[in-house]
């Protein structure tokens, strides 16, 4: 079942260098155009994982122990022709090892996509009897180890690694611990670069227990180092990427196969480190039942292909497929068998990547500054002289109503403050609470006098300045048709404005001038021609609620820019918004790159990727 399933379904290929199995073999489902720009990301990962500052590979420093060093014991050279040299052939041997080792190292690096040559130089060496002990960074040492059994000047040489215990002990103390930590970090980075397959975007963490290098280092010799190994590895992974997106783009697949795992405890840190994995292989472990996988039930929300074969729970709960499919709403393939249609998976996957349009700046469609002038005068008048305000903007037909929403969400910093609504509540026309028609009628006020009377019973207020505290307001204005004609000539009405304002104010104690309550409000005005100034309020509705801050309408500049790019890409490619966004995310929000990526992937995109 196991191997057959894998051969059929592809997914995560075991072991490195098995060629382009995996994702490429699985049908590319809709909603999954994740490989849009794989070339670019291949370069990225190589930059991060294999070379550069993360894993220094420059000429070895003679001072300062940055790298993990290994001791190799070389024997057999005493039988070579070079042994007759003045120095016993040591220099020729070193030159031979350096030269051949360099070739090996370069080959290995080339296979991993690292270009250029790195010259090995053996700086530290000592003779012990017939043996030569050389000390090298581990990557160089590995290349030289491969020369074991080679012929040097007519003699077979033997090269072996000295085990940890035979290494000369490092002096104890602070410096050595720090050195050790750096060495471990380097070791893990080295390990990661060795286990990452850029072609498949696969991080191969399978069969860790039989990894020769890890074993030589004694990682699994003690429970303590074993339990620290995986979390440390994940921490290094995290550090290699600047953004979550980068990480998501670089590692699509992880295999933890053949690790004798009977619980997720040791590898739990995989989920927070790679939450966006597409393919995951947990096959050939020792998970006894589904419960042992519960920890990941709600993780990996983008999982497309999961391999669980070769675990004891297969016998215990043979119908586990159904449950697992339910755990992962985007899962299409389980153990190489399709469990959900491409369409269904794409639908759920789109649900997950949805995000509403970002908050934009207020839309203010004024004419001849009519609305702007009104707003400036209105709040100044409301705070200072409501009587004059009513004379100015209200007339016999104006209606006004006030609603209290004491249940509205509030700013967390205000949670402890007791809200008092008495003064408003008897006027409130919140139809959710005022159900009877007579009460609804009584709480809608019409005409200057009725409105003036209510205004005079409401607390004195102080609104923030429109000019110096504009962020505390959101003021929007649009054209409103059908506003009553004051002359009564046009039954279908005239043009006016619909103004919506959200903001805050303080209630002021008149005698002391001190603020009493901090409220938020929403006010809606319909303005039309008429009244003393030529502009009158036709309808006014005012909602008072607990203070809720001004963060909700803060314009998200970055999101808006991205939104524009999505629109531009969509216009250029006819891809829908979701696909355009995904393509841009994968192209680092670079429009040019996104277009190129689109051209490359166009043929494989499903029909519903387009508008």
């Amino acid at each position: 079942m196991d191997s057959a399933a894998k051969a059929r379904g592809g997914g995560i290929s075991k072991g490195r260098g098995r060629g382009a199995a995996g994702r490429d073999e699985t049908p590319t489902g809709p909603g999954r155009a994740r490989d849009l720009n794989s070339e670019v990301f291949k370069r990225e990962i190589l930059r991060h994982v294999a070379t550069g500052e993360a894993v220094p590979r420059g000429p070895r420093a003679t001072t300062g122990q940055i790298k993990h060093m290994r001791d190799l014991k070389v024997t057999g050279h005493k039988k070579s022709k070079a042994a007759t040299n003045e120095d016993g052939g040591i220099q020729s041997l070193l030159t031979f090892l350096e030269k051949k080792g360099t070739i090996n190292l370069d080959k290995r690096n080339n296979a991993r996509g690292i270009k250029g040559s790195h010259l090995i130089r053996i700086i530290k060496y000592q003779e012990e009897g017939d043996a030569l002990i050389i000390t090298l960074p581990s990557d160089e040492a590995l290349s030289i180890l491969r020369l074991d059994g080679w012929v040097f000047a007519g003699a077979n040489i033997k090269i072996e690694q000295l085990s940890e215990t035979t290494r000369s002990p490092t002096p104890p103390g602070q410096a050595s611990r720090a050195e050790n930590a750096t060495e471990v970090k380097h070791l893990l980075q080295n390990f990661l670069s060795r286990r990452y397959n850029a072609e498949m975007k696969l991080l191969d963490l399978s069969a860790l227990g039989s990894d020769a290098e890890l074993n030589t280092l004694g990682i699994f010799n003690s429970a303590s180092t074993q339990s620290k190994f995986f979390p440390a590895l994940m921490k290094i992974c995290d550090g290699l990427f600047k953004t979550a997106q980068e990480k998501k783009d670089t590692v699509h697949s992880v295999t933890l196969a053949n690790n004798e795992l009977s619980s997720l405890a040791a590898v739990a840190s995989l989920a927070p480190t790679f939450p966006d994995l597409i393919n995951l292989d947990l096959s050939n472990n020792k998970f006894p039942n589904l419960a042992s996988l519960h920890g990941w039930k709600h993780k990996f929300r983008h999982l497309d292909h999961l391999i669980l074969s070769g675990n004891p729970f297969e016998q215990e709960s043979p119908d586990y497929h159904t449950q697992i499919t339910n755990w992962y709403p985007t899962l299409r393939i389980l153990n190489g068998v399709q469990v959900r249609s491409n369409e269904e998976a794409a639908r759920t996957s789109k649900q997950i990547t949805k995000s509403p349009p970002p908050v934009a700046a207020p839309l203010f469609h004024d004419e001849a500054q009519i609305a702007e002038t009104f707003i400036t005068n209105f709040f100044a008048g409301f705070d200072s002289d409501r009587n004059a305000l009513v004379n100015m903007y209200y007339d016999a037909d104006t209606t006004f109503s006030l609603s209290v929403n004491s249940r509205a969400p509030r700013d967390p910093s205000q949670d402890h403050i007791k809200q008092e609504w008495d003064v408003y509540i008897k006027r409130s026309r919140n139809l959710k609470h005022i159900a009877q028609t007579p009460a609804r009628m009584a709480r809608k006020l019409q005409g200057q006098d009725a409105i003036r009377e209510v205004y005079n019973t409401l607390p004195a207020t102080r609104h923030p300045s429109l000019t110096s505290d504009p962020q505390k307001w959101v003021i929007e204005c649009m054209h409103q048709a059908g506003v009553p004609d004051p002359a009564g000539q046009l039954p279908y009405g005239v043009g006016g404005f619909l103004i919506t304002i959200h903001g805050e104010y303080e209630e002021i104690n008149i005698s002391t001038g001190q603020p009493k309550h901090h409220r938020s409000f929403d006010r809606t005005f319909i303005l039309g021609p008429g009244g003393a100034t030529g502009v009158r309020i036709v309808r006014e509705m005012w909602t008072v609620r607990p203070y809720g801050g001004d963060q909700a309408w803060k314009v998200d500049g970055q999101a808006l820019e991205q939104e524009q790019l999505v629109a531009q890409l969509s216009a250029a490619t006819r891809m829908n918004a979701a696909y355009s966004r995904q393509c841009l995310e994968e192209s680092g929000w670079d429009l040019q790159r996104a277009v190129v990526a689109f051209e490359g992937a166009r043929a494989s995109l499903p029909a519903d990727a387009f508008v």
Binding site: P357, L363, S403, M441, V483, M541
Partner: protein, 164 residues
């Protein structure tokens, strides 16, 4: 024309508002394919202004189809709890006819409530405030055109804002 009693105006406007709000927010939650049916068809008025005007958090949405598409394609699941609602006729001159003949008319209403998108990053509870101006469905009134089977009242203007 006979004066329509104030209590009738209040009743009619509240009924229209309450029916509309129930149906519309239910559609946003569960039947987004019907969203466009809540809007007046796009048209240019005699003064050159275009309706409907739809503004969502400052984003100008060109028409009903675009609004529906926005909800269908980019909006996570949303849950609405209308905590506060108020309404009135805008043009009582027309309201007289509206109450008797259900002719051309305009209603404004507004509500503030809790808006809890499940997958949005901005916290589980977001307060929003939204104002609608509704007009009667002329095609339904006259029994002509594609919209004659449609809803009785349609959105002419709409302004939505997250406020908390």
């Amino acid at each position: 024309m006979a004066e329509v009693r104030a209590d009738i105006l209040t009743k009619v406007s509240a009924e229209v508002a309450e029916t509309f709000v129930d149906a519309y927010y239910t559609a946003l939650q569960g039947s987004r394919n019907t969203i466009s049916s809540y809007y007046t068809p796009r048209k240019t008025l005699s003064d050159g202004k275009v309706v409907p005007v739809i503004v969502w958090n400052g984003n100008h949405i060109p028409d009903a189809a675009a609004m529906q598409k926005m909800f269908e394609e980019t909006m996570p699941y949303t849950y609405y709890d209308v905590q506060s609602l108020d309404c009135d006729f805008v043009n009582t001159g027309l309201a007289v006819q509206a109450a008797t003949e259900a002719n051309a008319d305009v209603v404004s209403k507004k509500e503030l409530d809790q808006h809890s998108p499940v997958v949005v990053m901005r916290g589980p509870d977001e307060g929003f405030s939204e104002t609608f101006v509704l007009v009667p469905n002329e095609e339904k009134v006259t029994g002509k055109g594609k919209g004659k089977e449609g809803r009785a009242w349609l959105i002419q203007n709409q302004n939505f804002r997250y406020v908390v």
